[in-house]
Symmetry: C2
Subunit: 337 residues, 2 copies
Amino acid sequence: MRVVLDAMGGDNAPHVPVMGAVQAVREFGISVILTGDEELLKKELEKFSYPSEKIEIVPASDAVPMDEQPSKALKRKGSSIHVGLELVKRKEADAFVSAGNTGAVMAISLFTVGRLKGVDRPAISAVLPNLRSQTFLLDVGANVDCKPFHLLQFAVMGEAYARYVLGEKNPRVGLLNIGEEEGKGNELTKEAYALFKAAREKGLNFVGNAEGRDIYSGNFDVIVCDGFVGNVALKLSESLAGILAKILREEIERHFISRLGAVTLKPAIRTFKKRIDYAEWGGAPLLGVRAPVIISHGSSNAKAIKNAIKVAAQFAKSHLNEHIEENIQKYGKLNGC
Amino acid sequence: MRVVLDAMGGDNAPHVPVMGAVQAVREFGISVILTGDEELLKKELEKFSYPSEKIEIVPASDAVPMDEQPSKALKRKGSSIHVGLELVKRKEADAFVSAGNTGAVMAISLFTVGRLKGVDRPAISAVLPNLRSQTFLLDVGANVDCKPFHLLQFAVMGEAYARYVLGEKNPRVGLLNIGEEEGKGNELTKEAYALFKAAREKGLNFVGNAEGRDIYSGNFDVIVCDGFVGNVALKLSESLAGILAKILREEIERHFISRLGAVTLKPAIRTFKKRIDYAEWGGAPLLGVRAPVIISHGSSNAKAIKNAIKVAAQFAKSHLNEHIEENIQKYGKLNGC
């Protein structure tokens, strides 16, 4: 198993990606190919000890800035993203990981490896912790104006990911909506509901509409929405978690620390952060392209990169993309053509 | 100032609304008219002592169930909602409060008092606490498929509410979107951005796109979105606040209580809950109809009802609706006709 890591992607590249790669090699024994500035990467690697046969550098002369338009990024054929995805396309590697520019990773994936058969649009996803396990939410930003059949394709892809990579036996799929009952929603979700119901006849475990509260309720394993709504939900969650932790910390300090002096809250806050920390999940798949691609947060630390490499390897081992193509077929003519 | 309260609305009616009314009378000296089942309300009122001239019952023979379709609810001309809004229409009262069926309150408001001049669609709003003060979010569920000019009308109404009722000097208005830059977004928000920019030329303090994280950042006083996105954001927030408090509590107990024995976390948790508790805000206005209408959570406690009555009185005093009609005029031909 060989995972390519875009060593130039992320807010703290290449230091953090290289450290993450070294950790993945040491802990999981996964072979990693780093793409990026050869001199820089060599210097970074010298800081660590690791089994040297497990990390290889494939030079890339260019890098995509974090905020560059995907259309511009596409023109940088020598970028670490482009070089990395070409390796996967040529079967010289099994999966690709980047904490870089999400839009650029998607655009270059489409350009190099292309779409899966029957998938009109790839989706970006998020793995969110809930009280029981995790909720797989998609799309979270790739597709801001969707047709109902796009949502059904997201459902098929998300269901397969939850089953074959996250290990859910029979993932419960929900359609994000503003009420539980059939007939609720906007034009998009009302029409999508009908398609989801038809797919249920053919075996999709569609359990109905999910509401905003269900993203964290644990009542659904996969929740499907358009990329606009998903993006708002994701960014809202990330900020709210931080803000609530801050407020509660202030309150506890106000009531306790003055009285308890030396007693520190650190262990509780640390474990709390770990439970709500999306970095723990490493990254989330870009689904619908002909290669296992994992996109990590731009602010990922080494641990998140390490976990993303592990997830990428699981994705590759699972033969997920074959399952997705089969299911897209199985649930009928789902595309718009 | 006389506020009508739908005493049959909410999960624990009429007990909780009556208690809330008594508290509002005692604390704020506001006169309250209760609409609902006369016998039931008399019995409830007997439980409390209060200045009797300040609470009046206007009988209503019917009540709208919490989950009834608005179209059905409209036919109950004798409902506590209908009777209450008729009182406001006939100027026998100044404002209306209900913790009942939101869709029914909106439909019956449109049927009785009607829309403000220049407003195509009323909006339901939410007052959310942020790290500095509060964010006024609208629409949160009344309008799931919007046109760009609807969003601009929401902006005008929200800005006026933040200014004249919440007391913000120059409310910063944001358009909920998936990126900060102009040009980001779906078809709706891209077109709306152009309208908001044009309104900025005429004086609207439109500061740009807001992202999901900005709902709680304190960088905006008013955030505008369609009712689908707003509803998901609101329900997500409510559930996440509860879940995070629960997780953090577990973690703190795991790390501390075993060691500290009798030390209780109650004061900290209580203050925390108060800061994030939407009930503290009492309720949120239905904007765009020809009367001050406040809608409270179905699960409101007496304190939330009391605060809602206070907010309703402030709304009535502010002459908000006159300001809204002026501003809709000022910011140009904003409706779609």
